[in-house]
């Protein structure tokens, strides 16, 4: 986890940066004037940083929440694996075409139990971001995920997926290899998996790219993440025919964890450290682990058949419509 001055600050986090700078200056002063005790000033400033973090995250607009989910210091999947599990063995390749670096997976030990971890991975540096294709998986990524899910199913191990993607990769080769089919197949197969499945949105959750590893007994969202049908930028450019409306699109899409929980489209919000997961990786991982374990315990109570039926039922209830009052329902012909 980067420490000041290596931390990066978003626009609305600027007041926090100012506080850090004040601390730096006070420390310099303290060095110069060793007779005066500055320690109480410093500790006061440090606690006001935490207050500021809290204050800022309490009043975020949906678009700022989107920005927070993309914070350059935000932990990605491998970070959570490192902090939450032991003995992680990464498994590569879809056994068909290639190894997609944007989608990773493998077995690990979570609190004494073997689990399968699958998810999108992003990079922190330009080079790594390119290698990970910005978390945008291709068909081989989704097929690799499915291969690993089947592997977990074979050995009766629970599956935990980490969703963090701006969408599936919209490119030439993705289309050639059936991006749509790969995602469709995953959704269909995930609904039928015999083992417990928990899906967590840890950053961005955009469209089919997210849902392609997002069908489970429990779908959780971390506090400062978003999950919807399209990225705010994509929505803006399609519906408003301009990318300038991304803030409005973010509002209209009602994509925050609070909205999604309110709609009943996700099951639970996972709390983050004050100010966001990027402030404390260890705490973020601990909070997440706790929620995963509780949920895992609960869904394990059911038999595979019950779990599958509950999954179908849960997603089957999603949607809204109204009855057309005047029209009669025509009788069904039986010829």
């Amino acid at each position: 986890m980067p420490q000041y001055p290596n931390r990066q600050f978003l626009d609305f986090e600027q007041p926090i940066k100012d506080l850090y700078e004040q601390i730096e200056q006070t420390k310099k002063l303290a060095e110069k004037n060793q007779k005066i005790d500055y320690s109480s000033t410093i500790s006061q400033l440090e606690s006001s940083i935490v207050d500021k973090r809290k204050e800022i995250t309490e009043h975020l607009t949906p678009w700022q929440r989107v920005q927070l989910s993309r914070h350059p210091d935000r932990p990605y999947m491998l970070k959570y694996i490192e902090k939450m599990t032991t003995n992680f063995i990464e498994c590569h390749g879809d056994r068909n075409f290639a190894d997609d670096k944007a989608m990773i997976g493998g077995f690990a030990d979570l609190d004494g139990e073997t689990v399968m971890l699958i998810g999108q991975q992003k990079g922190h540096t330009t080079k790594m971001r390119q290698l990970r294709n910005f978390g945008m998986a291709k068909p081989e990524g989704y097929r690799k995920a499915l291969r690993l899910m089947r592997l977990a199913e074979k050995f009766d191990k629970p599956i935990i997926t980490f969703i963090d993607t701006p969408g599936a990769y919209p490119g030439l080769e993705g289309e050639e290899r059936g991006q749509g089919e790969a995602i469709a197949r995953n959704i269909f197969e995930m609904i039928r998996l015999k083992v417990p499945v928990i899906c967590i949105i840890i950053g961005e959750g955009a469209s089919g790219g997210a849902l392609g590893i997002g069908v489970g007994d429990r779908v959780l969202m971390m506090e400062n993440t978003w999950y919807t049908v399209i990225s705010p930028e994509g929505c803006s450019s399609i519906l408003w025919r301009s990318v300038d409306k991304k803030e409005t699109a973010a509002e209209q899409l009602k994509l925050t964890s609070i909205d999604m929980k309110g709609f009943g489209l996700v099951d639970e919000i996972v709390p983050e450290p004050i100010g966001g997961a990027h402030w404390d990786y260890v705490e973020a991982a601990e909070l997440l682990k706790k929620v995963i374990l509780t949920n895992l315990k609960e869904i394990k109570k059911h038999s595979p058949k019950v779990r599958i039926n509950k999954r179908i039922e849960k997603f089957g209830k999603m949607g809204f419509w109204e009855a057309i009052p005047t029209t009669e329902i025509p009788a069904i012909a039986s010829e």
Partner: protein, 300 residues
């Protein structure tokens, strides 16, 4: 209106095309009962967007809206497909008692509710999918067909619910199921609810699979996004009309991403079959007979 062509121009046109005649005997059209259809080309004359061949609307209708010269399949709606598929154009529409509502108060350039009200006042369509059951050469079938005219055939809660009820009906009555897709993808005005329809419909298909009932997916021009990334590509058999544009990401988005021109024929049915994602490409005129063949083969 009638005098688009003087006689001379007509002769010249005939020579050029060599196909069409003024004095062609007109059989009683198989689509005679469905006058004034939406999505059917308006007016008396119709120009093929592919080859500019000009034909009368009634001739085009008789040819199932397929260009006589270049086999271009015009985009048609659920009314036309139901008429083409079902015996004597007899079918029963089902689950047409629900419609979309703007629960999220979604407003882009205009509000979602306004959009819905506008379409409801302009057409008889209640949503982007209609479900009907009837016989195909004597074989029972449930067909769910999209209407592109209704917000681009987009996948929203109503489509998801109609799809689900259709599957339930198939299971209860042991009938095969076919979906005719024609859609731009998920309906953004329903936000995450539209996304979840992909999981909802897949769950129902899982039940249909357990009941061992066949599911056919017919992809028509255009089929994109949430449809191709869910039930569109999940058919026991996937087939498409010739030349249909089918894909996950739209051509414009891909072009912007890779910053290159797309190869000719990219994302067309022929491209998909070449890459292994379709079982066959099907001319509209063969649709009905092929369907009854398939139903028989799957059953016996």
């Amino acid at each position: 209106m009638d005098n688009i062509f003087t006689g001379l121009e007509e002769d010249a046109h005939q020579e050029e095309t060599g196909r069409r005649s003024w004095f062609k005997r007109r059989k009683k059209g198989i689509l005679t009962t469905t006058a004034e259809k939406k999505e059917t080309p308006e007016g008396l004359w119709n120009k093929c967007p592919e080859c500019n061949f000009i034909s009368t609307t009634s001739d085009l209708k008789e040819a199932l809206f397929v260009c006589a010269k270049c086999n271009y399949h015009h985009r048609i709606g659920s009314d036309e497909y139901f008429d083409i598929i079902f015996d004597e154009q007899v079918f029963t529409e089902m689950f047409d008692d629900i419609r979309s509502v703007d629960m999220l108060h979604f407003t882009d350039l205009k509000s979602y509710q306004k959009r819905l009200d506008d379409i409801h006042s302009k057409t008889d369509l209640k949503d982007s999918m209609r479900v009907a059951t009837g016989n195909v050469n004597g074989e029972g079938l449930v067909v769910a067909c999209m209407d592109f005219e209704f917000i681009g055939g987009s996948l929203g809660s109503v489509m998801g619910e109609k799809f689900s009820r259709a599957v339930d009906y198939c299971i209860a009555n042991k009938l095969p199921f076919m979906v005719i897709s024609k859609s731009g993808g998920a309906r953004m005005m329903e936000s995450a609810f539209s996304l979840m329809q992909m999981a909802k419909t897949s769950g129902k298909l899982s039940q249909l699979a357990d009941a061992q009932l066949p599911y056919f997916s017919l992809l028509t021009d255009p089929t994109f996004g949430g449809i191709s990334a869910s039930f569109g590509m999940l058919g026991d058999l996937n087939f498409a009309e010739p030349g249909a544009l089918i894909g996950f990401a739209g051509p414009r988005v891909i072009k912007e991403t890779i910053k290159k021109d797309l190869p000719p024929g990219f994302q067309r049915s022929e491209f998909l079959i070449e890459h292994g994602f379709l079982d066959f490409i099907l001319d509209r005129k063969d649709l009905k007979n092929k369907l009854s063949q398939l139903i028989t083969l799957f059953r016996n």
